[in-house]
Subunit: 191 residues, 2 copies
DNA sequence: AATTTCGGAATGAACGTTCATTCTGTTACC
DNA sequence: GGTAACAGAATGAACGTTCATTCCGAAATT
C-alpha cells in the first residue's frame, strides 16, 4: 500500500481499457503502454493478468461501500434506508461510469460467476449491507414474500438496467429521474 | 435454409459452447469437434467467426418472437398483455437456459452493444412488440411518466435478473414464482 | 566530496502457446 | 470423369508471460 506510482498507474490504465474495450480489447502490452510502463513491469506488481483483474474488482468494491454508506442510519425507517442505499448506489454509477462498465464486464465473465457463487454462501463486502437489509425487510413483512435472492435480483435489476441506459447514453438521468428510478425499484419489492 | 445437417449441427455446437463457456472458451476447432465436422467445414457455412456469432443471435431472436406471441391478443386489457408477454418471455428463458445464457453473452460484448445502438433508432424484432406496448401504456397514462427507454429497462431488469438467478441455480422458479416475478415487474412500471 | 559498489526496480525482446483462417489432398456424388 | 463437399494439417498473427540486461539511487569507501 506504500508504492503508489506505477502500481496505481497500471490499475488506472487497466480499468480504463477493460471498461471501454472489454477484457478482449485490452492486451497487457497496451495496458503497459497506457500506464507509461514496460510490459514486464506489470508483473512486478501483479502475478498475472487474472490477479490484476481480480484486484481491480476488489478495489472498486472497497470504493463503493463507504460511498453508499455515507449518511446511512440503521435506525431510519425501512423504506428510507432502501431509498438511501439505492440512490447512493445509482449516483455512484453515474459519477463513475467506467467503474460501472468494469463491474459489468467482470460480472459477465468466468471471474464474476465464480465470485458470485462464493458470495451466495458465506459473504462479505457490499452485499452484506444489502443482504441484511433485505432479510430484515422480509422478517418485518414489508417486502414481498419471496426468496431472498429473488428480492435482491428484483431490486437491483431495474437499477442496473437504468444505470446501463444512462451510461450508454440512451437516457440522461437527472436528479428527478434518479429518485423516480429508486422509487420504481421500491415498488418492485415492496409488499 | 435448405441445407440442414451440417449447418445446423455447427450452430447447435456453437450455441452450447458459447453459452456454457463464453466466447473465449469456444475455439473454432472445438466447435467443429462437437459438431462432428472438420474445422474447415465451418467456413463453408459461415464466412467467419463473427458472422457465426451474429447469425446465432438472429436465429435465437427469431425463435423467441413467435413463442411469446403465442396466445397474445392486442385486444386484451393493457395489464393482461404485459403479464402475458412477460411471463411468456420468462418461461422461454426457463425452458431454454442455453439460449438465455447465449443472449447474455452476446449483449455483453462488442456485438451486443453495436446491435443495441441500431435498435434504439429504427428497429425491428422482439423489441418492436414491446416498444409498441410501452408506447401505448405511456399514452394511456397507465405506466409511470418516464422516458420510454427507462420504462423498458425498469420492466426487463427484474425479469432478467430473476431469470439469471434461476438459470445459475440460485433459486428455482416454479409456476407461482414466475407469476409473482412478472407481477413484480408490473409493479415496477405501473403508475 | 567524489567515486565506486550494489540491490532491486524496470524494461522490452524473445518465447511458447493458442487460435482463426486457409490450403491441400481425399472422398462422395452426379 | 468432373465437380462440389469435406477433413484436418498448415499457417501466421496475436497474446500472456519470462528473463537477461539496463538503469537508478542509495550506501560504502576513499
Amino acid at each position: 500500500m506504500a508504492k503508489p506510482d506505477k502500481r496505481h498507474e497500471i490499475m488506472r490504465a487497466a480499468l480504463d481499457l477493460f471498461a471501454e474495450q472489454g477484457f478482449h480489447g485490452a492486451p497487457m502490452a497496451l495496458i503497459a503502454e497506457r500506464a507509461g510502463v514496460g510490459a514486464g513491469t506489470i508483473y512486478r506488481y501483479f502475478e498475472n493478468r487474472d490477479i490484476l483483474i481480480k484486484e481491480l474488482f476488489n478495489e472498486l468494491e472497497a470504493d463503493i461501500l463507504p460511498f453508499i454508506l455515507d449518511g446511512y442510519s440503521d435506525q431510519a425507517p425501512f423504506r428510507a434506508r432502501f431509498i438511501h442505499l439505492g440512490s447512493r448506489l445509482l449516483r455512484y454509477f453515474i459519477q463513475h461510469p467506467l467503474h460501472f462498465r468494469y463491474l459489468e464486464q467482470f460480472h459477465n465473465s468466468p471471474y464474476g460467476v465464480a465470485h458470485r457463487r462464493d458470495k451466495i454462501l458465506g459473504n462479505e463486502g457490499k452485499c452484506n449491507v444489502f443482504k441484511e437489509l433485505f432479510e430484515q425487510g422480509s422478517a418485518q413483512q414489508v417486502l414481498k414474500d419471496l426468496p431472498l435472492p429473488m428480492l435482491i435480483a428484483l431490486a437491483f435489476g431495474p437499477l442496473l438496467g437504468v444505470a446501463r441506459d444512462h451510461i450508454l447514453g440512451f437516457v440522461r438521468l437527472d436528479e428527478e429521474l434518479i429518485i423516480k428510478t429508486i422509487e420504481a425499484c421500491w415498488d418492485t419489492v415492496k409488499r
